[in-house]
Amino acid sequence: MARLTTSLTRREFLYRAAAVGGTALMLDTMNAWGMGIASKVSAPPTLSGSGKGKKVVILGAGVAGLAAAFELRKLGYTVQVLEARSFVGGRCQSARKGFSLQELGGEAQQCSFDDGHYINHGPWRIPLDHQSTLHYTRQFDIPLEVMVNENDHAFVYLEDGGPLSGKRLRGAQIKADMRGHVAELLAKSVQGRELDARLGADDQMLLLDYLRREGALEQGDLAYKGRNGRGYAVNPGAGLMPGAGTPSDPLAFRDLLAAKVGKVYSAVQDFPMHATMFQPVGGMDQIPRAFARRLGGAIRYNAEVQRIGQNADKVTIDIRDAASGKLSSVQADYCLCTVPLSVLRMIDTDFSDRMKAAIKAVPYAPVGKIGLQMRRRFWEEDEQIYGGHVLTDLKGINTISLPSNGWQQKKGVLLGYYNYSLDAIEVSALTPQERTEFALSAGEKIFPAYRSSFESAFSVAWHRVKYSLGGWAEWSDDARSNAYPVLLEGEGRVLLAGEHLSYLTGWQAGAIESSWQQVERLHRRATA
């Protein structure tokens, strides 16, 4: 018997989990194993039964709370969403003229970008893989535009890049030349009979054929001498000058190797960063706003949660009005709490010690961004870079991202840095003015017109933002095995949801798909 248990395969276990707890338990089990099936969920669960006559209080009007409220309402529940801020969205925010933010321990910032300009200082991209997010943008008719997440014409700039340090390389140069050189090396190895032990004669011929095309190798000596995809020295055009143009010379293989370009650049994007990437026209906050229009008076703003309590029959939420300071209570049959764990851990609850310990087990990511309004789109006009990311090892910068909207207009807002962990902490210790100086000093190394074009800035350090206290949950393996299942289960009449209860942490899709799962769990509990 013991032997049977230990030899249980994952597949067998899943069959049993499904038999005992239905598909939901099976899916939870698979998620707990990191099998990532949730990212394939593209629509809310189809549920039978009605929630009519039952009330659910939802804590937080971020994307998770809003999606849950929308779906629970469709099931007939009475929902009330309590939101501490005076606006919807949680971390899904867009800063435009008039938007203000005061980080804890920081100065107040007021965004003064020109009308029509904004920065998505929270989530900023919707991958094609996140069909759950796209489910709502489609349903709510939120116009999307392509967010240029891959642009091989954008620069790669290395400060610690050996012989290529301080040079403005184009992604396409690195991609073409690395592929060309590696193809040449491999092709010559085939020709020199060095791969005979690994490949048969027919496969060697096929591989050579592939490498000639893939690496643009010379037919005869299989040498890589550059290719037009890496760009010309002088572009072709009309007449005799420029006429056929002048080809460019490839970067030397040794220089590319010594530069260790792989630390910032990869020719193949990781999941889910590959094209096609989207953004809502006018700012990411179009998504929470669309939910809010449909939920109307069900959202109560300035409602700071002070305490979460429950007994056998009901849940009681004590709240403080952030504007007036007035205390009150809300009662409901169930509660779905989407407050980030970083904030929930500070809230008084009557959860068990086990649940409290699980809430405290998850650290949150320090994350920083800065939007810089430029009076002139020098990246387009001078460098022919239309959207995408400048990848760099400049300390604390990580990426400079060019806007994917307003092509060829006069002004634009670019992302001056997007930093994490220690870099984000260090930069967050600076005043807003110092952060701007930090960003400008880096950017002007890459773009000569960077500093002189600068007009105004808006920065955020998410770990210092009240009601958020971090960019996203950063799970350790240990916490995934111990705390995650406890949090997924919730306690009594209180369930949790949010990006933190997914393997898509930091993505709106994680928030939405977590809410869909917990709505199903809540509905099962309420209609049992």
Partner: protein, 129 residues
């Protein structure tokens, strides 16, 4: 002030050059953004380090907080080496009225090893969300 930050940032940015930094500078860079320069934190968000039993308790426990993270705070084990963790802990344990003894790099190293925490990689690249 700005210039000072920059020089420091550039020096720290070159992976090979390990310049000795004092605990106060490390604190300003790594801790003050949340716990504040006066160590008093922000009530309801960031715990005070003044008179904190965690800060002023056993050196191994204080080191564990930085090596593994605690609550909402991330681990610093990937970005600070053992000596730097010792320096910043020593600063916090002896500032703002705290009067706990110094922590040595060897104590942090032993704790890192005991907890099975990987050595610092100073990795800072990524394209996450």
């Amino acid at each position: 002030m700005k210039r000072g930050f920059f020089l420091l940032a550039v020096v720290a940015g070159s992976a090979a050059a390990q310049t000795p930094s004092d605990g106060k500078t490390l604190f300003a860079k790594n801790c003050a953004a949340c716990h504040q320069a006066d160590g008093r934190g922000i009530p309801g968000a960031f715990p005070a380090l003044v008179a904190s039993p965690v800060v002023t308790g056993a050196p191994v426990d204080a080191a564990e907080v930085l090596l593994k993270g605690r609550g909402g705070m991330p681990a610093f084990s990937g970005s600070l080496d053992d000596l730097e963790i010792a320096q910043v802990l020593t600063y916090a344990r002896s500032s703002w009225g705290n009067k706990a003894g110094a922590v040595s790099g060897a104590e942090v190293e032993a704790q890192r090893s005991a907890l099975g925490v990987a050595p610092p990689n100073r990795s800072r690249f990524g394209n996450k969300h």
